[in-house]
Symmetry: C2
Subunit: 576 residues, 2 copies
């Protein structure tokens, strides 16, 4: 491809509204342009990368035995009412009426449509398992779109849905898709990890996320340093610590603690380490089945631990979605304000985290404004109803797998696979005839990859101060040919033209910087910014000396290729 | 591909709501399924065809020097307000608010978005011409979606937009795109014609449509039998006939014509051929600039001719969009009812069609209910203000190119190219610096192909009573391998497996009917219905006799390939 026939829209300035590096570099390299909040146009350079990711995903889905389909962006409300999600889904779901006042939405995902399709097409257990995927445009009206295509409103997703007679068959396909996802991210060239994940509101029995490891990731991943264990901290179990051997104090001391609202302030005032302070949080309880009234539930954690809302939300006593009680509700129920609360004679359910439950001689709020108890103990002054794992695992904790300790890394979620079970097939009555000739509700799996997000994640993981460093498999161009003074030297022009033609014929994606009068420095800067893996500079001096300057994007210094064997040596580099 | 791993969803019954043959066959062959009115899911078989059409379109766009981009489905209202189309566009444009109450629409086309993108990215005449295309999902809320994917609400379109310093440059790119479109439809294997087209409301100076010729087409195309001339009848000029040599009658006769409302009825009652009757239609005139009041305009045509609304709408006297006067408006202005109207002392502008204007001794309404004049003549009893070409050309008319006569064929519009001019670039102030360093508004072209419609059009043109007959280039599979009693004969199974593997390795799309116990008759019927071009049937008897049954989809009878040279002979057929 000649640069004069291809939109190179690089920018020197860092765009002011871009926060993360991939967003900055995608704008600066001229890969995308913002159309409106969370809506982006893909320029030719960015689209080349996107299409390469798509092609890898498509090949591996085909290899995994999934069949490609294409479902509409616009979906009828009826199906969403059938599954129950028309009401459940928040404002992320864009709803509208057509000209005949029928309800529709823009598909944020396609469980309903595929379930409807499959219940109509598949009749017999002999047709199962079946696995359908699409690579398609999705829309989610994010409240705060950000990070460019990493969290945009319109995006490209590969979503697949599998259908089974039973859980065993689902698990087989799930394993095949897990392997296909690993193959995809390996082929793309990403440093990634499959991690155990919470199934969240989508339900089901098993789930893995695929995370690209990068400092800028929005998720915390817990890794064991003694095994392959990896899990999203939303999911990672925090084991119960061994009981303390410390002797319990005979009595607790009521202590005046004015102007201390936070754990840090209490710790500083009383000179108590935060792990010896118990914090008490109040959330809304499950509504009473008859009256609909909601009481409060208290959650007790060690001062140095953070509540894991995903874990807490699953407890029967607690309303879903998890909602913190307001100051007013706490004041009315407990008679004290946040900052002075503790598990002392609360008269409501009290759930203690496993680590909090083994604390001895701890400090906690006295449920009296500006007072804490010091040297409190469970069963003496304080009480809990039950012990549960409700905290985030932290670095240094023992791994729940039983081997090694936990380290925490940041990850960008680029894929997610679920064992859905019968959540949708049951609600939508998607059944087949089983081997006994009876109607049997199908078991489902679903499998997503954020195709446009993968592009951004690859940049987050592969960049330096000069720009992007593409993995070979998804680089927009494999190699750049840079001529020096092409308008003055017929020889240079001819060597470049020939090389361009021969490399293209061999199937490489070549960018020929054929803008004759462009400055060498700015061409080289553009190539570094765009992140083209291989680059050669061809000028008369190099040709005279039989030394053509070659540089890989990740090399610090350039090296030399022989001018009289340029094509062969370059092919070796490109195929390495 | 093994049939057991691919959704073959053929149906015997003809779906009740399908009218045209492509819609019926796409449903019966299991290519698409209806999700809701005008919304279709593409099943694996249909999507394979769609992707092959896409690939050909993409290659030829790349060859034509167009650069691929990808723009969002969802577009901000602001841009449409800038171009003026937010108000102009009817309810086909789906408008909605996002969660923050900002206005958006689903893109039925992307002139605004690309113009916005280009005005921001391109700064200098040196960057022109530039041509950008995308293959992308569009949505138009058709009042009456019909004919399956031929006129659906959501569809796949290739849309391209070119930008130029001047008309000459536009015309160069327009010619390149015209040639690219011919290459695309030729490669797909369609019988098509580029035809001159009206530019309609989109404006601009030149336009061609690309029509696939088929009886079921919605458009009438006028062809010359003496030249390459072809035009949509919306556009085709009807030449003025030679003046009549018949002597004008001395006086007209007022004749009682009760119960005659139509040309046919008047013709039968008075025994006058319809071409000697003048019909008079009343449409709304252009509103008065000051008062906004609209008078009526009369249009006179020969009784055997039809009004061309596209031509009429362009006349200065006539309001746009063309609106027929109501019975009440006619009664109030003329004092008579439709069926008895004529160009007699009307007191409003009267436009006579070229053919009507040379009529002699004609019959027309007397503007008195139930009366006609016979032997009327222009300048005597009847008068017109002006002569214009306002009728549809008909078969047998002389071609406007000057060579040969006109025949009319039906066509399906699959492509449309426009010289847009500055309609959008002016409204949206899309300018570049010209060679003199001055701001200059860009000139634009736009170029569309209905990618999903091409699939349906190919079927309309290529089918028989058994099903679809795919052109090779877009067939979902090139060849089908049909085993006989594979579950009983290891030899048959082995020959089929080997052939399947070797043909796939050679790059052919193979469907291996590996469902061991399927009935031969139903497999063959499926293959004919699906329209796979090449088919072989492999059984023990054929292997014994060294004769493998081969049939091309368009052959009436099958022929024999040598079993011991099966792969080679089949490859020859496939590459022919």
């Amino acid at each position: 491809m000649r640069a004069t026939q291809f939109l190179i829209a690089t920018q020197k300035e860092t765009p002011s509204d871009a926060v993360v590096i991939s967003h900055k570099l995608m704008l600066r390299a001229g890969m995308i342009r913002k159309l409106a909040s969370g809506l982006y146009c893909w320029l030719p350079l960015g689209l080349k990368v996107l299409r390469k990711v798509e092609a890898i995903v498509r090949q591996e889905m085909d290899n995994a035995g999934a069949q490609e389909v294409l479902m509409p962006v616009v979906q009828p409300a009826e199906l969403w009412q059938e599954s129950g999600r028309w009401e459940q889904f928040g404002p992320e779901l864009t709803r509208f009426n057509d000209r005949h006042q029928n309800g529709f939405c823009l598909g944020p995902t396609h469980e309903e449509v595929i379930t409807d399709l499959v219940r109509n097409e598949l009749k017999s257990y002999k047709q199962l398992p079946a696995n359908f995927y699409q690579i398609q445009t999705k829309f989610r009206d994010e409240v705060r779109p950000r990070f460019g295509v990493m969290r945009s409103r319109e995006f490209i997703m590969k979503d697949a849905y599998s259908f089974h007679t039973d859980q065993t068959s689902l698990e087989e396909t799930y394993a095949i898709m897990h392997a296909a996802y690993c193959a995809i991210f390996n082929r793309i060239g990403l440093n990634f990890r499959p991690v155990e994940a919470d199934t969240g509101s989508i339900g089901g029995s098993g789930s893995h996320e695929f995370h690209v490891l990068a400092e800028s990731g929005e998720d915390d991943i817990a890794f064991s340093d003694g095994s392959d264990y990896a899990a999203n901290i939303e999911k990672a179990e925090a084991l119960a610590p061994a009981p303390s051997t410390e002797a319990a104090a005979a009595k607790a001391d009521l202590t005046h603690t004015p102007n201390t609202k936070t754990i840090e302030e209490v710790s500083a005032l009383l000179n108590v380490p935060s792990q010896k302070i118990i914090k008490t949080l109040f959330v809304m309880g499950t509504p009473d089945e008859e009256t609909g009234k909601q009481g409060l539930v208290a959650l007790c954690l060690r001062g140095d631990h953070a509540l894991n809302e995903v874990k807490a939300e699953k407890l029967a006593e607690i309303a879903s979605p998890l909602t913190f009680a307001s100051d007013e509700q706490i004041q009315n129920t407990i008679g004290a304000n946040a900052g002075s609360l503790g598990p002392i004679e609360l008269g409501i359910p009290v759930i203690a985290d496993r680590a909090a439950a083994v604390a001895v001689n701890f400090t906690c709020g006295a449920n009296k404004n500006d007072y804490h108890f010091v040297n409190c103990n469970w069963g003496a002054q304080a009480n809990f109803s039950r012990i549960e794992d409700i905290r985030n695992i932290v670095a240094g904790d023992p791994s729940p797998c039983g081997k090694g300790n936990i380290t925490i890394k940041r990850g960008i979620e680029v894929g997610h696979i679920f064992q859905l079970g019968d959540k949708y097939s049951k609600a939508m009555n998607a059944s087949i005839l089983d081997a006994q000739g009876k109607d049997s509700v199908m078991t489902m799996g679903c499998y997503g990859i954020g195709v446009s997000r993968v592009v951004a994640a690859a940049i987050e993981q592969n960049n330096d101060e000069a720009g992007i460093i593409w993995p070979d498999a998804i680089a927009p161009f494999n190699v750049a040919i840079v001529p020096i003074n092409m308008h003055k030297s017929e020889r240079v022009a001819q060597v470049c033209e020939e090389l361009h033609t021969k490399l293209q014929a061999k199937g490489f994606d070549v960018l020929f910087m054929d803008e004759a009068k462009a400055r060498l420095g700015s061409m080289l800067a553009d190539i570094e910014l765009i992140g083209i893996p291989h680059r050669i500079v061809i000028g008369d001096r190099g040709l005279d000396n039989n030394e053509i300057e070659y540089k890989h994007r990740s090399d610090k210094e350039s090296s030399a290729l022989k001018a009289d064997a340029l094509f062969e040596e370059l092919c070796q580099k490109l195929q390495a």
